[in-house]
């Protein structure tokens, strides 16, 4: 198991290198000049050239990349051109909000997906299966940002049940600490902040989660149907094991295995989908940071956020691999 994880890590490094270099090249090929953009509009051409020299933009591309890489490896992602702050600081301030959002959405997608899969399986052949089937098709056919807009309109504006902008009520202070509001508020003993943060999470996280649950549910149902035909299910039934127990204690874990790959892929997409949701719900995460950076051609920030997305997807893959081994003893070495 450790060996597989070490292998994963060994593969992750070249992946990151390739992704970062591709991103670096692509951004440098854009017809924008970060040097000019970082100077006031009345700067002379000489000023701009001097700035280009200071920023190292006059060197050949591969050299620029190596310099950037060297700095990144030392934890230095450079200065944001637009915000005039360290990129590392910007990203690490914004990341917790995104992780909190995507994490809650994953929990919701997982619960809805597994619950829906079990329900679809349990209802097979009945009329209610059709209703559920229709519901999942519907959930899947709307993209996450439309769900977001719909939720804002229905639960935020029309019914006025839940807040839909930012992470906290405006009158509450942001507790210091990790940046994860749910954690920091509890540590500070501020249940009011915790509650407010939770309420603010419900709509964006549901919008994100609901769009990604149906594929999980369908794969789970399909693999439950296949697992149900296995010998060990029949044999357990002949030992008097109840149908509920057969499903939950015998079939589910075996059926989970093929679904797990799907869950991993879905979670990768879900993390990417958080970008639009953050914009719609004015959630100050790395999605919004990315949008600002793109709008201002803030290359160092774009690069750092892009790299962050890549790292997160790799981490999700590694977690899925580890889960595989936890769930399937055949993959562990004796």
């Amino acid at each position: 198991m450790l060996r597989t994880l070490a292998w994963r890590a060994a593969v992750a490094l070249p992946t990151l290198l390739v992704v970062s270099s591709l991103m670096f090249m692509a951004l440098r090929l854009l017809p924008v000049d970060p040097a000019a953009m970082s100077l006031p509009p009345n700067a002379t051409n000489a000023d701009i050239a001097a700035m280009r020299h200071t920023m190292g933009l006059d060197k050949p591309l591969p050299v620029q990349y190596v310099i950037w890489l060297d700095q990144v490896l030392h934890g230095n992602f450079g200065q944001s051109i637009h915000f005039r702050r360290s990129v590392a600081g910007l990203v690490s301030n914004a990341l917790p909000a995104t992780i909190e959002l995507a994490g809650s959405a994953m929990v919701i997608a997982f619960i809805l997906g597994v619950g829906g899969g079990l329900l679809l399986f349990a209802l097979q052949g009945r009329r209610s299966e059709l209703a559920l089937e229709t519901a999942t098709t519907l959930a899947m056919s709307l993209p996450e940002f439309l769900w977001g807009l719909l939720f804002i309109f229905v639960f935020g504006v029309a019914l006025n049940w839940l807040p839909f902008t930012g992470r906290l009520a405006p009158n509450l202070p942001q507790p210091s600490g990790t940046g994860f509001l749910l954690i920091d508020s509890l540590r500070a003993g501020r249940l009011d902040i915790f509650w407010s943060a939770l309420l603010h999470l419900i709509l964006p996280a549901s919008a994100l989660g609901i769009a990604f649950a149906p594929p999980i549910a369908r794969v789970l149902r399909a693999s439950l149907l296949a697992t149900w035909e296995q010998d060990y299910i029949r044999q357990a039934r002949l030992r008097g094991v109840s149908e509920t127990r057969l499903l939950l204690a015998h079939a589910l874990r075996n059926a989970a295995l093929p679904s797990l790959t799907m869950v991993g892929v879905q979670f990768g997409f879900l993390f990417g989908g958080s970008l639009l949701i953050e914009v719609i719900f004015a959630d100050p995460g790395i999605g919004n940071l990315m949008v600002d950076a793109v709008r201002n051609a803030d290359l160092p920030v774009i690069q750092a956020v892009g790299l962050t997305y890549c790292v997160v997807v790799l981490v999700i893959n590694a977690v899925v691999d580890a889960l595989y081994m936890v769930l399937d003893p055949r993959l562990r070495r004796a």
């Binding site: 029949r234 094991v241 204690a249």
Partner: protein, 612 residues
């Protein structure tokens, strides 16, 4: 009052394409009684309805099957009329099942202990006693180191070990009835014998009644008190095991017995034509269902069906007195000492595999220092338990794999290297037939085109191809009308024969056959054996790999005995079987089910008699 009585049980299956669904009787008016502590064997070939009987007793029929009539009374309760709740409470507690495929009958993601524990919970045993109970139970089924076994997962156990765990589970509640459906079919011969002994010992001690379902009459003979022979969904003969075997009254029972080659001597075989009717044919059938295959059918057989009659010995046949007159239809194949020229010689052949991940690789020796010579027209048997290297040897001979050491000489040429020249020589001289015919046949090609494949490669004209295909089909005992079918539309035995026909179309001098009769019914096996014996007249040589010693004795002139990748003994078949030299050969022979009527070998297990 018997423990289990089955009365007039009829189970039907919905068959039919298109709009007209018909009901095919999978079981027809089955009546049986099983007393406390008795072992009743249910014998018959595949499709006879044996497993359906077990499933009807359990109350779980496959979708599309239903009970059309009759009663199943267990311990004074009608099993067909109890609630699902009551059934669940009874299953695993009063009635236990031992499955056919032990490796797939345990949940792969749960430990042995968690599955035993779940069963103990079902039995109402308090959790804190589970561990001690489990260790005791595993020791009782003779599993070494039960403590560490509890933490293991099924994939870490062999088939025999899994079956012991399942037996421990089945006996945990001291059930009144155990239904064992082919419990040893998936296991090696030597393991099979030990598992049967174990079951018998536990059964005697607990006084459990056993419904022992098997296709193997010889196996049933050894362990059953009574036998019921099933054909096409109906019991055709029933009675005490010894009496049924020594004096069969139904022609089918007699044919089953005579279809089996004997372990102790070569003998002629009874070869029944055709096969048992399938579901669709059952829906149409009338009269005696066995009539189309019966060697002594006579006036009125096809029109009238005779019910099972008699008291202690029951039979469903109009002319039972003719049964004992049935004699083998195919004579014993003659023995031939190989005097021809050497066709294949293998010298010091070895094959090692590297296994393991990137690190910690290690070698596995699948075959070591194998040497033998096969002469023209000779039949060579290769026996040994699973994993002994039989298939590796076959793969090396036919060139699917390269040896790490040694030489292979075929028709005077060295083909060890497996280069283009060697391929040419192999192509001209040898053909292979493998165990699983369905995967060997292209599912999208018609049978005719499969059989004529070799001629196609040789660019022979279509007319000639068709003629040769039809000729070969007839020689294989296949209806030439089958040429337009797809492999999926054939039975297992037919598929295997198509497979052999395909190999023969290339006119090989040597045929390499790996387990081609295993998994087939005895009557189909007898057909194939007769076919192979006929081929011998044509002068073909055969390397015949099998785990069935009786079959090898019947067919082969010489035999090789393999153990853990080495040849431990080789020689003329009669000599090796009559006076085995290697200890391992003796063990193999002792483990094989003895011939019907032969005294059972005495091997007693150290299981104490019941206390009190």
């Amino acid at each position: 009052m018997s423990l289990l009585t089955v009365e007039n049980l009829t189970v039907t299956a919905r068959v039919g394409q298109g709009g007209v669904a018909r009901l095919a009787p999978v079981l027809r008016g089955v009546g049986l009684a099983l007393d406390k502590g008795e072992v009743l064997g249910i014998v018959g070939e595949s499709g006879a309805g044996k497993s359906m009987l077990g499933r009807a007793i359990a109350g779980y029929l496959p979708p599309g099957f239903s009970v059309a009539g009759g009663r199943v009374d267990f311990n004074r309760r009608n099993l067909l009329a109890i609630t699902a709740e009551a059934r669940r409470a009874m299953l695993g507690r009063e009635i236990a099942f031992i499955p056919q495929e032990p490796l797939s009958a345990l949940n792969p993601v749960r430990t042995v202990f968690s599955q035993l524990g779940e069963h103990y919970t079902h039995l109402g045993i308090p959790r804190r006693e589970h561990r001690a109970r489990a260790i005791e139970a595993l020791a009782e089924v003779q599993l070494p180191d039960p403590e560490s076994l509890l933490r293991r997962f099924p994939h870490q156990l062999s088939g025999g070990m899994c079956q012991r765990v399942l037996i421990a589970m089945a006996f945990a509640s001291r059930p009144r009835l155990i239904v064992a459906d082919e419990p040893t079919t998936a296991l090696d011969v030597s393991v099979q014998a030990r598992i049967l002994e174990l079951m018998a010992a536990l059964q005697r001690r607990a006084g459990t009644a056993v419904l022992f379902i098997t296709h193997d009459l010889r196996l049933a003979a050894g362990i059953c008190d009574r036998l019921a022979v099933l054909y096409a969904g109906a019991v055709v003969e029933e009675g005490g095991a010894a009496s049924v075997l020594s004096r069969p009254l139904h022609p089918y029972t007699r044919a089953l017995e005579l279809a089996n080659p004997a372990l102790s001597a070569r003998r002629g075989l009874m070869v029944l034509p055709d096969h048992m009717p399938g579901l669709a044919a059952l829906a149409e059938a009338t009269g005696c269902r066995f009539a189309p295959r019966c060697p002594v059918r006579s006036h009125g057989c096809a029109e009238r069906e005779i019910p099972l009659i008699g008291d202690d010995r029951r039979v469903a046949c109009q002319y039972p007195e003719r049964t004992l007159g049935i004699t083998p239809s195919a004579p014993a194949p003659p023995h031939r000492a190989g005097t021809g020229e050497a066709l294949l010689s293998v010298e010091g052949l070895g094959r090692r595999f590297r296994v393991g991940g990137m690190f910690r690789r290690h070698g596995v020796t699948a075959l070591e220092d194998a040497s033998f010579t096969l002469r023209e027209g000779e039949f060579l048997g290769v026996v040994g338990e699973s994993g002994s290297g039989k298939s590796t040897l076959a793969r090396l001979i036919v060139g699917l794999d390269r040896p790490t050491t040694g030489r292979i000489i075929l028709a005077g040429a060295d083909v060890t290297k497996g280069d283009a020249a060697a391929r040419q020589i192999r192509l001209a001289n040898l053909q292979m037939v493998f165990q699983n015919p369905s995967s060997a046949l292209n599912p999208r090609r018609r049978v005719g085109s499969i059989v004529a494949q070799a001629l196609e490669a040789a660019h022979r004209p279509t007319v000639e191809r068709e003629a040769v295909a039809a000729e070969l089909m007839r020689a294989m005992g296949l209806d030439p009308a089958l040429v337009s079918r797809l492999p999926a539309q054939l039975s297992g035995g037919q598929r295997q024969r198509v497979n052999i026909a395909r190999a023969l179309a290339a006119r090989p001098r040597l045929l390499v056959a790996d387990e081609i009769v295993s998994g087939l019914d005895v009557s189909i096996q007898a057909q194939l054996l007769a076919l192979l014996a006929r081929l011998r007249a044509g002068g073909i040589a055969l390397v015949f790999i099998s785990h069935d010693l009786a079959v090898v004795r019947h067919l082969c002139d010489r035999v090789i005995v393999m153990q853990q990748g080495r040849i431990v003994e080789q020689g003329e078949t009669e000599r090796v079987f009559a006076s085995p030299q290697a200890d391992y050969t003796r063990e193999l022979l002792a483990a094989a089910p003895p011939d019907i009527g032969a005294p059972a070998p005495t091997r007693l297990l150290a299981i104490p008699p019941p206390a009190g």
